[in-house]
C-alpha cells in the first residue's frame, strides 16, 4: 500500500522514526496499527510453530505423566508436578536454577539469533498472531478495508466490531480457563467451570484473567512488548556485531528510490512498514521495538520477486554479515553462556535427582531446654518428618551413633520407632534423651537417624544434649 493510498485513507503523515514510539501519537494517544497481510516462507513456518505451541500450551495440564499432570502448580497443596517429578515447598530452592537457567538460555539464544523467542514462541505473540489477529482479519477484512471502514463508521463497522469483540471475550475466557488449569487440576476444573461452585477466589481469578487477556489482545497488543516487557530493553546489551538479527541490507538497498532500475534495490514501497506488528521501519536498523517476527522479510521477498530482484534485501543476518558478507557464529560469549547454562543445568539435575525423598528436622521442645527429675537430665525434642515421595512410606527413627556412649546411663525414649506416612504427608514426634546428672559435664551433640525402609536411605539429624 503506497504512501498515497495511506494519505487517501486519511492516515496521518507520520513515518516510523528512531526518535519516538510510532504507536504513541504526539499527544500521547494511541496510534492503533492496522497490520497488513503477509505470506511467505517464514510466515508458513511461524504458523506451524504457533499451531504446535498453542496445542502444547493448552494441552500441557491435560497430559498425564506418571499419575500426575505434565505440569501443575498446586498452591493450596504446596506441591508442584513437572514432567512426572513431584516438588514440594521444601524444594522451592530448585526454582532458583529454573529461573537462572531460563535467563541464561535467553542470553544464549539472543546472542546467537536475536529475539527469535519473541517472534516464534512467546505466548503474547503466539496467541496474538496465531489466534486473535487472524480472527480480526477474517471479520474486518484487509488492512485498507479496515482503515476505510473504521473511518466511515456506521452499521457495517458496528456489527463487525461487536462480533469481533464478542468472539475475543469468549476466546479470552477459554484461554484464561486453560491457563488456570496450570493451577487447578483439570478434572476438578471440568466440574467447576463456569462458576466454581461459589469459590469466589477461583471465580474472581477467572474473571480477572479473562479481562486481562481480552484487554491485551483486543487493545493493548504491541504495547505489552514495547513498554511492559523488559526483554526488549535488554536487547542492546545481549546482541553484538555477530548476532543474527532481522536487518535491511543498506548497501544493496540504498539509495532507495521509487521505481525499478534507479538507485538501490529498495523501491520504498513501505510494505515492510505496513506488515510490522509493532509499527517500525526495519530500514532504520535494529530497534528495541523489533520482536523478530519476520513479517518484513516475507513482505520484502515478495516485492523483490515481483520486480525481478533477488530475495533477501531484508533477511536474517549479522551486522558483520550485512557489512562484509561474512559470518561468525562461535564467539567468546557463546562459550561463556554455554558453560554457564550447562553448569546450571547440571546443578539443577543433580539437585533435583539427589534430593531426599523425605525431610527431617528436629527442634528442641519449646519453653524448656531440659528438665531434671530424680537426678536424671531429660531433653525433649520434636522431630518433624515429611514424606516428599509419591507413595506411602515406612520410616524408622533410631539414635544414630555413640556420641553419648561415653556418658554412662544414657537412655532414649523414642515412642514410635516405626512411622508410616502417606504421600506428601507429615508428622511430628516427641523424642527424649536422658542422662544421669552425674554423667553430664558439657553440652554434647549427637544424632538421630531416620531410615527410609524402601530405599534404605538414612538421614542423620544432629541435635544437642543440654544440661545444667
Amino acid at each position: 500500500m503506497t504512501e498515497k493510498e495511506d494519505l487517501a485513507a486519511g492516515r496521518r503523515d507520520r513515518k516510523p522514526d528512531l526518535n519516538s514510539v510510532y504507536t504513541i501519537n504526539e499527544d500521547g494517544s494511541r496510534n492503533m496499527l492496522q497490520v497488513a497481510d503477509v505470506k511467505g516462507r517464514w510466515t508458513t513456518r511461524k504458523y506451524l510453530m504457533y499451531a504446535l505451541l498453542i496445542i502444547l500450551y493448552v494441552a500441557a495440564p491435560w497430559i498425564t505423566i506418571g499419575n500426575h499432570p505434565m505440569i501443575l502448580v498446586d498452591i493450596p497443596g504446596r506441591a508442584a508436578f513437572l514432567m512426572g517429578a513431584t516438588f514440594t515447598n521444601q524444594d522451592f530452592h530448585l526454582f532458583f536454577f529454573v529461573l537462572i537457567g531460563a535467563g541464561i538460555s535467553l542470553f544464549v539464544v539472543t546472542s546467537l539469533f536475536g529475539r527469535v523467542w519473541c517472534g516464534f514462541a512467546c505466548p503474547q505473540t503466539v496467541f496474538m498472531e496465531g489466534v486473535f489477529r487472524p480472527i480480526e482479519r477474517i471479520i474486518e477484512g484487509r488492512r485498507l478495508e479496515r482503515i476505510r471502514r473504521n473511518q466511515k463508521g456506521g452499521f457495517p463497522k458496528i456489527w463487525r466490531k461487536t462480533l469481533k469483540h464478542l468472539i475475543f471475550i469468549f476466546l479470552s475466557w477459554n484461554f484464561a480457563i486453560a491457563f488456570m488449569c496450570y493451577f487447578i487440576p483439570t478434572r476438578e476444573m471440568l466440574h467447576q467451570v463456569p462458576f466454581f461452585h461459589g469459590n469466589v477466589t477461583a471465580l474472581m481469578w477467572s474473571i480477572f484473567w479473562t479481562a486481562m487477556l481480552y484487554f491485551d489482545y483486543s487493545w493493548f497488543r504491541e504495547q505489552t512488548c514495547l513498554i511492559i516487557c523488559p526483554y526488549g530493553r535488554l536487547q542492546s546489551t545481549l546482541v553484538d556485531y555477530d548476532t543474527v538479527i532481522i536487518g535491511y541490507d543498506e548497501k544493496r538497498g540504498e539509495p532507495r528510490h521509487k521505481g525499478v532500475d534507479k538507485g538501490g534495490d529498495c523501491i520504498d514501497c513501505r510494505r515492510c512498514v505496513d506488515v510490522c506488528p509493532t509499527g517500525i521501519d526495519i530500514r532504520n536498523g535494529l530497534q528495541m521495538e523489533c520482536i523478530g517476527c519476520t513479517n518484513c522479510i516475507d513482505a520484502c521477498d515478495d516485492i523483490m520477486e515481483k520486480i525481478g530482484k533477488p530475495r533477501g534485501l531484508i533477511r536474517f543476518d549479522s551486522s558483520r554479515g550485512f557489512e562484509t558478507g561474512q559470518a561468525r557464529m562461535f564467539r567468546p560469549r557463546f562459550f561463556v553462556y554455554s558453560v554457564l547454562i550447562l553448569a546450571m543445568g547440571a546443578l539443577f539435575v543433580s539437585r533435583a535427582t539427589t534430593r531426599e525423598s523425605f525431610q527431617v528436622t528436629v527442634l528442641r521442645s519449646q519453653g524448656m531446654p531440659y528438665t531434671i527429675e530424680d537426678g536424671v537430665i531429660r531433653n525433649l525434642y520434636t522431630l518433624h518428618l515429611q514424606n516428599k515421595s509419591d507413595g506411602t512410606r515406612v520410616y524408622f527413627v533410631t539414635p544414630a551413633d555413640d556420641a553419648l556412649a561415653g556418658h554412662p546411663g544414657v537412655e532414649y525414649i523414642i515412642p514410635q520407632e516405626r512411622v508410616e506416612l502417606d504421600r506428601l504427608s507429615d508428622r511430628q514426634l516427641s523424642l527424649f534423651a536422658m542422662m544421669p546428672r552425674s554423667s553430664y559435664t558439657v553440652p554434647v551433640d549427637f544424632n538421630f537417624a531416620v531410615t527410609d525402609s524402601i530405599s534404605g536411605t538414612v538421614q542423620d539429624i544432629k541435635v544437642r544434649f543440654r544440661g545444667p
Binding site: K15, D17, N19, G28, R30, D281, E373, S430
Partner: protein, 198 residues
C-alpha cells in the same frame, strides 16, 4: 553519519524534533516525548486509589485492613468453635459419652502413641509424666480439668500445651482415650497427687 547518509534519511518526518532536552552526556541526548496516555491514566489512577485507600482505611477507618480481617476471621472461627462446643454440650458427660465411642477412642489412642507416650509410656503407666492409670491426680480427675491441662500444659513440670498443636477435635479424642485407661492401675510410676474419683 555522512552528509550523504543524512540526505538519504531526510524523507522521514522527524517527530517533535524540537523537544530534545537541553542536556547532553557523553554525546547522549534525551527526547522529551509525551508518555502514553494509558500509562498516565494508570499513574493517576494509582494515585487516586492510594488517596482513597488512605482515607477509607486509615483516616475514616471504615474499611477493614488485612490483619484486622485476619483477626476477625480467627475470632469468628473461635466463636464458632465455642458455639459448636456449647451446642454439642461439651462437659464432663460429653467426654464420658465420647469415651464409649470406639472410633474416637481409637483415634485418641493413635494420637496418644504418637505424642504422649514419650512421657507417659505406651499404656499410660508414666515415666517422665505421671501415671495416668492410677487413681491419684495432681490437677484433678474430672474430664474438664484434664482438658485444661492437655490444652494449656503445665510448664513447670514439662507438660507441653497441646491445644494449638493438635486442635480441639484431636484433643477431645485423646481425652476420650484417657478416660478408658484411667483407674486401670497399671503398675508403673508411683502415684502422685491426691486420690480422686470421678
Amino acid at each position: 553519519m555522512t552528509e550523504n547518509q543524512n540526505s538519504q534519511r531526510d524523507n522521514r518526518t522527524v517527530y517533535k524534533q524540537n523537544t530534545v532536552m537541553d542536556h547532553e552526556y557523553d554525546g547522549i541526548q534525551e527526547f522529551d516525548n509525551r508518555l502514553p496516555n494509558w500509562w498516565l491514566w494508570i499513574m493517576w489512577g494509582s494515585m487516586a486509589f492510594a488517596l482513597l485507600y488512605w482515607i477509607v482505611f486509615h483516616t475514616l477507618g471504615v474499611g477493614v485492613l488485612p490483619h484486622e480481617r485476619f483477626e476477625m476471621t480467627m475470632q469468628a472461627a473461635q466463636e464458632a468453635q465455642l458455639a459448636r462446643a456449647l451446642e454439642a454440650g461439651i462437659d464432663n458427660d460429653f467426654f464420658v459419652m465420647m469415651s464409649q465411642s470406639e472410633s474416637s477412642v481409637a483415634e485418641g489412642r493413635e494420637i496418644f502413641v504418637t505424642h504422649c507416650v514419650a512421657c507417659h509410656l505406651d499404656d499410660g503407666r508414666g515415666s517422665v509424666g505421671p501415671n495416668l492409670t492410677d487413681s491419684y491426680w495432681i490437677h484433678g480427675c474430672e474430664p474438664m480439668q484434664m482438658l485444661k491441662i492437655i490444652n494449656e500444659g503445665v510448664a513447670s513440670k514439662g507438660m507441653p500445651a497441646w491445644g494449638n498443636q493438635l486442635g480441639p477435635s484431636r484433643v477431645h479424642a485423646v481425652l476420650s482415650y484417657l478416660l478408658t485407661i484411667k483407674d486401670n492401675n497399671v503398675a508403673g510410676k508411683a502415684p502422685e497427687g491426691e486420690p480422686c474419683t470421678f
